[in-house]
């Protein structure tokens, strides 16, 4: 399924991969979250893998988008796992983040364990 700026693909039973593209407009986050969660609910998803491998930097605005999406996913009983975070992005994010993020993290899809 394609949402403007996001590619949502089912990769297994209850597992979905969300791949953001360069055209993603996170200022439109409410509408994006609604469309993603609607699809996750419909497909009875359990996990949402958010691929960050193409993102060299995460600023507070992007973190707010990830946080909101993760919290919305949790409401519909879906665990969001950010995968492939680059060292530069992890460094930047760790500087302004306080506390535990709403999402989980893994090196890759197969690297996540509960």
């Amino acid at each position: 399924m394609s949402i403007p700026g996001l590619h949502l693909t089912q990769i297994g039973h209850g597992d979905f991969l969300l791949d953001p593209s360069k055209s993603l407009n996170i200022r439109d986050r409410d509408s994006l979250i609604e469309r993603v969660t609607a699809h996750l609910l419909q497909a009875r998803a359990a996990r949402l893998y958010y691929d960050l491998s193409d993102l060299a930097l995460i600023d507070p605005l992007y973190y707010a988008w990830l946080d909101a999406l993760a919290r919305a996913a949790r409401v519909v009983n879906v665990t969001m796992i950010c995968i492939g975070m680059q060292p530069s992005a992890a460094f930047a994010l760790s500087k302004f983040m306080s506390g535990k993020p709403a999402f989980q993290t893994a090196l890759a899809i197969d690297g996540w364990h509960k």
Partner: protein, 286 residues
Amino acid sequence: MTAKKVLSEKVKALFALKVSGIAADLEVPGFAFFCGDNRLMDVDEVADLSHELESLLASLLSSKDPTDLSSAAFMATKDFFGNLSQKVLMRGGRVEDVVRYTQTLQLALIDALAKNSGIAFGQSRSVLVYFTGIFNELIMAVFGAYLEEREHTLQAQQAELKETATPITEIWDGVLTLPIIGTLDSSRTMLVMEALLNRISKDHARTVVMDLTGVKSIDSQVSHHLIQMVRAVQLMGSDAIITGIHPEIARALVSLNIDFTNITTRASMSDGLKEAFVRMGITVSH
């Protein structure tokens, strides 16, 4: 409109000279500065150097405009001195040796040219001014090469220091260990963090064991950096285990109000490794 250079008779005579047969005279400063106790070069090497120099100086003096410091002939001479400086420094020589050699060479060159031509170049102010201008530029080239060499040495030392300051080892598939020894200041913590995150990305490490047994003290800023480092490791999807925290450091962390709630700690490196293996489902039997 370009101003035409007015040259004295002696300088005109100098530029009209066919320079040859002065290599033996140019060898003298080379022997004095490079073949003495320091043994930076052997006699044959100095002889080759002097022949090359003679040919370069002959090209410069017979070039279209020998006063042009951007001419190909002058640039070749400048490169020669730059390379000479680099060679001497790499062999453990001092920059002072090359500078003194260059200064002495200027006098030797004027004497040799005067001897060969029979013209008293040493008594001509304009000839001295011309050679001083040329040799000052050559000394600048010597210093330029010296600074470049120093810069390379410093960079190499820094790279070595960086390597030894962050001895990250993959002790098992997907398990990295990082023993931190000595003082942990902010710049070093940043260095360690950068190296560690890049290594996690490269090796796809699932667990990192950071051992602080060798760290005797920690301040507020550094403890925050440490927490930041653990957080960054976790954000990349790896587990971080901190081991070997001294009682003094534990006390300092408490008094600094550092939250260790989401951080796994173990008493020793071996306990940290056991925990890493358990998390990865690895069983190690005796």
